[in-house]
Symmetry: C2
Subunit: 489 residues, 2 copies
């Protein structure tokens, strides 16, 4: 057996174990008995320790020295393996286990602090996590920028400088768009209650309409919607709220975007580094284009309006145009995950700037809340009323996920680029969407983006699909046109 | 940290991984998407390979040389670890992987052969598995009896000689009891259909009535009922058939017996070798005493009759006595898993004698079907009509599980001993059971057997609980009395 094949055999087994560990997470959020929490923590810990040991196994270094790539696919596999091995090898074992321990602790403290609206209770734990993650980033980056090393973990190849330029151009246009909408009459709202069983039935139809393959997946309810797994077993969750069926439907469509990416990767890459979405940004581009550019389009919402009338009767919306405005309603709010397309990126940009300043040391943890509240008031025009609506709202920093937030907005930028190219390639797409048929849209995404898995670098896969270097322009043009039409700007 | 503590830390992580691997099996039988089979096989393989490597990890040998047991519990832990390590270390890696490969292959061939009623198609695969398992047993047993080494895998300390004496004494009395019943009028049968939703609701009540803790477990449907997991997460499955609610209810009670054993083990033993049922025989003693001696007793079936009338209305049974006879109906049948209390052990004894002869070489695989059919005709008085009703009915041999069958009957023998002691300790137990209250019965079993987990050797835990060396006498006396009364013998 060649060194390359030996290496791939080892890596394939690691990927299989990683799928098992991921499914343990799915189980915990959907079907696990409540009393199993303590034991589950040990099971998670044992899997994490097995996976970590395999990822830094010195045999990988040996194989990498001698393995020969005979084609582009093999070269890409080796590139992924080398990157992951070298990153892992640079982090001392003691630091890795301190990070695991302190993030687990900080996560518990954060949850309690959020419940208690007590920022001060969280700050010492956050400070500890920040120090450890900075130390890790410095070990990886050497003399380069530690924040870039963090970012690289979620979005290989991206740099803070590049994203700052992109996001810097977005912010004023988004703030202006938001301000213009705020001066207009609010869009109509749904009235009535929407039985949960009917929501789940329609959510299943929506998942199928977007190409989700239930033969390689399943839909369950969970507290937070997520997609889990790669390859032949990619499961999603959603949630229901009798007052707010859109939360269920658009959570489902969002997760279906993530899940279809994983389901549609070339089967030759199954259980290899190429067999998973290439980055968080590209992943988010798929979930967001499914959810927003397709799922919240005038054409598709026209079809959805009919489906909802058939199932729920009258719910206070008179026309398909009103329904379109209702689905895309822009309203004041504190919470990122509940934000509309216009305001979502403003929430992300705030976090991106603050976490960069935390990592560089320009912002001290003790000044974080004030900085958050100042920036929020400046972009949104009103004040944060309590910490759970502000600096304590997101789980990410407690878990040490510095560098993760910007991938959300990068995903939206990528979705904008892909959407423009898709519309150019399929000019009559709205005829399909108006019938609830997404197959040409999702087929285009599958062919241009999803099937490649990790074969190309994140920016490259978007550039190849959209015909040029990614930029924020298409997203902003799309938002201004869409919301300009809805609000008569 | 002491060597003992280091050893236990390592073993604890292995036990946690083993729980994860087991839950992967649960997932596959209950919630896995159909298209995930291939990937799942790789995931199972990866977990098995991780677990195997840990079980033969040479560090265990080192720790065992120096670890000091400071109490009985530690001594028992070390005894289990040493036994498992020494067994695993005696089997060459190549042989272990050949067994994994060939049993997986033989299992597929068996399933097809059973569907095709084609014994000849299965025999070469069976022969290969038999040779490999014999080789493994010889590696473990050295100059001792290879069948005993197989048996020891499921029932530590048991020997074929001991079981042959026990089972030899059972066979004539069971054949005679069966013959006497056959001459009598058959017991009444259920009539009607029993909606599956109502069956599942009652099955849940039954599980709770027998002490199953849903905070550390859950009940799902699966093709075959099973119990899965140890400690804080012990799940069961059952099945429904609109014509046959007893199949659902008694499968549930049986699996609850297994599950309560795992749930009720002393929590100090969580994720250690003492934290699981000590042997297949003792496990089966719990499932069978729940199912039969308690669940099919005149007193408990009186309560169940009322529950079923409340839920299903009239189903053609006039009185509680008729219902008791119906639940305990003895009828001709080919299939072990569907057999009543009287005939079940005759099915097992047949397999025990045949598999011993296969392992010793006294019986050749090519003569197996004829030997099966002869023995069946002799004990049951009628002829096997097709291979799926005879030699191809069970999965065990295809999976290399030689030595497993006798633990079923040993479990019944143990249940007989425990039942006699339980009745002596709680003379008015029937008053409880007639109200559907099993708490004194299951509490006694929890205290006398279940909580000890792997602390005592299998025969010892039964002897301590029942006050003497286990023998077949109590089981046979119980069966003759119970069925004598039902059939007026």
């Amino acid at each position: 057996m060649s060194d390359y094949n030996e290496l791939m055999g080892f890596v394939r087994e690691t990927e299989a174990l990683s799928q098992v560990a991921g499914r343990l997470g799915w189980d915990q959020e959907t079907v696990m008995p409540g009393g199993a929490v303590e034991q589950r923590a040990e099971e998670h810990g044992a899997m994490a320790s097995v996976l970590h040991a395999r990822r830094i196994d010195p045999r990988i270094g040996g194989w990498l020295e001698t393995a020969v790539a005979e084609d582009d696919v093999a070269a890409a596999q080796i590139r992924h393996i080398r990157r992951s091995f070298e990153r892992a090898a640079k982090v001392p074992a003691q630091l890795a286990s301190a990070i695991a321990r302190e993030t687990s602790r900080a996560h518990r403290i954060w949850a309690q602090a959020r419940a208690d609206e007590d920022v001060a209770a969280f700050l010492p734990a956050l400070d500890k996590v920040l120090q450890l993650k900075r130390e890790e980033a410095q070990a990886i980056a050497g003399r380069a920028d530690p924040y870039d090393a963090m970012l690289d973990d979620y979005e290989p190849g991206a740099t803070a400088a590049q994203l700052s330029a992109m996001f810097g151009a977005m912010r004023p246009r988004l703030v202006a768009l938001r301000g213009a909408i705020r001066d207009k009459d609010p869009a109509p709202m749904l009235r009535g209650t929407f039985p949960e069983g009917e929501q789940m039935a329609l959510t299943r139809d929506l998942a199928l309409a977007f190409g989700y393959d239930l033969n390689n997946g399943r839909i369950d309810k969970a507290l937070h919607p997520f997609s889990s797994g790669s390859g032949l077993d990619v499961r999603i969750t959603t949630r229901t709220n009798v007052d707010d069926p859109f939360n269920c439907f658009y959570s489902t469509i969002h997760e279906v975007g993530h899940a279809c990416y994983e389901q549609n990767i070339d089967r030759d890459y199954l259980l290899t580094p190429l067999g998973a979405g290439v980055s968080m940004g590209v992943h988010e581009s798929q979930s967001r284009i499914y959810e927003n550019q397709i799922g919240r389009s005038r054409a598709f919402t026209g079809w959805l309006f009919g489906q909802m009338k058939d199932r729920f009767g009258d719910f206070g919306i008179a026309s398909a145009d009103d329904f379109f405005a209702c689905v895309n309603r822009v309203a004041d709010g504190f919470i990122r995950t509940e934000a509309d397309e216009v305001q979502y990126n403003l929430h992300v940009l705030l976090r991106f700037d603050l976490e960069q300043a935390l990592v560089s040391g320009d912002l001290l943890v003790r000044d974080l809340e004030a900085a958050w509240n100042d920036r929020f008031a400046s972009d949104f025009g009103f004040a944060v009323d309590k910490p759970s609506h502000g600096v304590l709202q997101d789980v990410h920093w407690s878990e040490g996920l510095f560098g993760y937030f910007p991938t959300y907005s990068l995903g939206n930028v990528y979705a904008g680029c892909l959407h423009t190219a898709l519309r150019a390639d399929v000019p009559d797409l709205d005829d399909d969407l108006a019938r609830g048929d997404t197959s040409r849209a999702t087929g285009w995404l599958s062919d241009k983006v999803q099937r490649h898995g990790g074969l190309y670098a994140p920016r490259d896969v978007i550039a190849r699909a959209s015909g040029g270097a990614p930029s924020e322009g298409p997203l902003l043009d799309y938002l201004e046109a869409k919301f300009g039409a809805i609000y008569g700007l």
